[in-house]
């Protein structure tokens, strides 16, 4: 990989990220194998951009997000944030980086302490990382509540007094408290009703514009990702299948998995639905503890051929910002 800094260094650069979880078995809890939740993932996110990360449950998208934020210690690979490799930082050095990167969680019910008031939940990162006077701290909390559209009179209330959408706003305010540059949104709207989803998505877009935020938006909702993301990465069984600018991906997916995934999303238009050809994949996602040889998608791929079952496809650069890990395109390129 050529390290050219001239064309604007990306805010986040992930290279060959691996996250394996050990499997222990027997009375001595001996290590008998590992779950390769994330296996060699590489991508860049430019400042102010939103990268959508999509895939089915168990494909490693959440683990990728958490490993980047160093909620796990990655097994291997590099995570460059703002020009520093944070993949193997420890202790105080890592702690100093924490304010720059934050997370918005899926379930606002589970990620907010029910015994803390909204004000103290939002102030908690400030207590940990910033030295503010009581008055400044209070002012900052109220400012954050305004920013996410929460009524400041509710600062002394508890999370259970709020609806799902409002609770998610509390989680967003907390994530914004330390002026982060980079936020991982892990399924932030999955637990919300459709009419509330739109409110939260619009809020995330407003905040991005106002504070120049960079998002990694993890979701299984492909239509929402299309709306929100500048570029999209499709993951399957711990690996990147395809990365492309959002519009290009949805118009013409290159990887057979992206193609099947997009064709499986129902469209809210009966006429479109009647005309569409659906690609129905056979079977389930294989276990990441025992992934297939060669291409991980080969067991379900409708376009599989001999080479797929032996050789792991590399992520090929297809031009126009598109990358795909599929032997089909390697052959087409060789033929052309």
């Amino acid at each position: 990989m050529s390290e050219k800094a001239g064309e604007g260094e990306p805010l986040l650069r992930v290279r060959g990220l691996r996250m394996y979880f050990p499997i222990h078995s027997g009375i001595f809890r001996r290590r008998v194998g590992e779950v390769k939740a994330v296996d060699g993932v590489s991508f860049d996110i430019a400042a102010g951009e939103t990268l959508g990360l999509v895939g089915e449950s168990g494909c490693g998208k959440s683990t990728t997000g958490r490993a980047i934020l160093r909620l796990y210690a990655p097994t291997g690979g590099e995570v460059w944030l703002d020009g520093h490799d944070i993949a193997h930082l420890e202790g105080g050095a890592l702690r100093a980086f924490r304010p720059r990167m934050q997370m918005i969680f899926q379930d606002p019910q589970a990620s907010l302490n029910p015994r803390m008031t909204v004000g103290s939940i939002i102030a908690e990162p400030l207590d940990e990382h910033a030295k503010l006077s009581r008055a400044d701290r209070r002012a900052r909390v109220l400012e954050l509540m305004d920013a996410v559209g929460l009524d400041r009179r509710f600062a002394n209330r508890y999370p259970h007094e709020f609806s799902g959408g409002q609770r998610q706003r509390i989680g967003i305010a907390r994530a914004l408290a330390l002026n982060p540059k980079f936020i991982v949104c892990d399924e932030p709207i999955a637990a919300l009703d459709v009419s509330i989803q739109a409110q939260v998505v619009n809020l995330l877009e407003d905040l991005q514009e106002r504070f120049g935020l960079t998002y990694l938006f993890i979701s299984h909702d492909l239509s929402m990702v299309r709306h929100l993301a500048t570029r999209v990465a499709v993951m399957y069984l711990g690996r990147i299948a395809e990365i492309a600018p959002s519009e290009a991906l949805y118009r013409r997916p290159l990887h057979p998995y992206s193609e099947a995934l997009i064709s499986a999303v129902p469209s809210p238009d009966p006429e479109v639905e009647a005309r569409r050809t659906r690609i129905i994949l056979e079977g389930d996602v294989p276990s990441p503890a025992n992934p297939p040889k060669g291409c991980v998608f080969s067991t379900r791929c409708p376009k599989v051929f001999g080479r797929c079952r032996v050789e792991v496809p590399a992520l090929l650069d297809m031009g126009e910002g598109r990358q795909v890990a599929c032997h089909l395109h390697d052959q087409q390129r060789a033929a052309a």
């Binding site: 709306h227 949805y250 997009i262 469209s267 006429e271």
Partner: protein, 334 residues
């Protein structure tokens, strides 16, 4: 308009009230719909709109107290369900009416094999011998696309993946040849590619088996692809009902229109900003004498706040409970 002679299920003016510490909550307020054989009715609405409570009321699955059905009639193949004895109800549930719930893990008993759980209702409802019931169970599992069905009868629920478990649930619901299948968000917990597999099975089976299906969901895209008719629910009422094409191409109720505007699509041009519906649905402590959507409606006028609109016919099999006419942007002449 609603009375097809051969309706499998006909619900009219159903009302359900919950007694809570803070007083009564009117969860279902005069819901009417019908469903014919082989037909798929999509029921759309947000959480708390009363979709699930309506279906639970139909089947007598709500504990009483706190729930009471205070009015209406439920005709299943011409028989009044509300007058049935508990014994007759048990026969109906799982026998002539099948159910699929959202979460397959909590609806299957983890300590019994899938085969045991499938065989039991077949023996109870169809009076088959153990061996015959087992054969039938294996057939049904194969029908919903579970490979090596016979051997898998001896597996426990945890040995199945999420998509496979949901197929087991569908198999269980279909095992006694139901006339009606009620599916409450059956694919919400599943991945899209697995959802596509399940939808394909349902598309095929409903014609083959000729049963009516009620499909509850909040996913408008899903309804567009699978339903014949749609009812949109809000605050315990049916606010719009019609053929799927009419609901999507010519939505009449401001709520339906807003709901369609909030979902981005994977095809077509990208919208700059998603439209939102501000506010929250009301908690109804009484049967409303006003339109329950009026507090969030962009087209609200005086009559909406004083009179709850009835379902007015607006086209072929299409009706809407709204005083506002989107064609003229004026109040309706009624």
């Amino acid at each position: 308009m609603l009375d097809e002679p051969a309706a499998v299920l006909e619900v009219s003016d159903l009302r359900t009230v919950f007694a809570t510490r803070d007083g009564a909550v009117h969860a279902v307020n005069g819901v009417s719909f019908s469903i014919g054989p082989g037909e798929l009715l999509g029921v759309v609405g947000e959480s708390g709109s009363g979709k699930s409570v309506t279906m639970m009321s139909l089947m007598g699955l709500l504990p009483s107290p706190p729930a009471t059905i205070t009015g209406g009639s439920i005709l299943f193949q011409g028989r009044e369900v509300r007058e049935m004895t508990p014994r007759q109800m048990r026969h109906l549930r799982g026998g002539e009416i099948g159910f699929v719930f959202q979460d397959p893990m909590t609806s299957l008993n983890p300590v019994f094999t899938v085969g045991y759980q499938l065989v039991e209702p077949i023996r109870v409802h169809m009076g088959l011998s153990k061996a015959a019931a087992r054969t039938r169970a294996a057939e049904i599992l194969a029908l919903v696309g579970i490979p090596d069905a016979k051997a898998r009868l001896d597996d426990y629920p945890h040995q199945f993946s999420g998509g496979m478990r949901q197929r087991v649930m569908i198999a269980m619901a279909l095992s006694c040849d139901p006339k009606l299948l009620i599916a409450d968000e059956p694919t919400t917990a599943l991945d899209v590619t697995i959802q596509a597999q399940i939808l394909e099975i349902v598309r095929e089976l409903r014609h083959r088996l000729g049963m009516g299906i009620v499909w509850i969901t909040h996913d408008l895209g899903l309804v567009a692809g699978i339903a014949d008719r749609v009812i949109v629910m809000y605050a315990g009422q049916v606010v719009e009902h019609g053929p799927v094409s009419a609901i999507f191409s010519d939505p009449q109720h401001p709520y339906t229109r807003a709901l369609l505007g909030t979902v981005p699509s994977v095809t077509g041009p990208r919208e700059k900003r998603l439209r939102t519906i501000e506010g929250q649905p009301p908690i109804l402590t009484a049967d409303p004498h006003y339109c329950p959507f009026s507090a969030r409606c962009r087209h609200v006028f005086n009559r909406c706040r004083s009179e709850n609109p009835p379902r007015l016919p607006v086209g072929d099999g299409h009706d809407v409970a709204c005083w506002w006419d989107p064609a003229t942007d004026d109040p309706r002449d009624v």
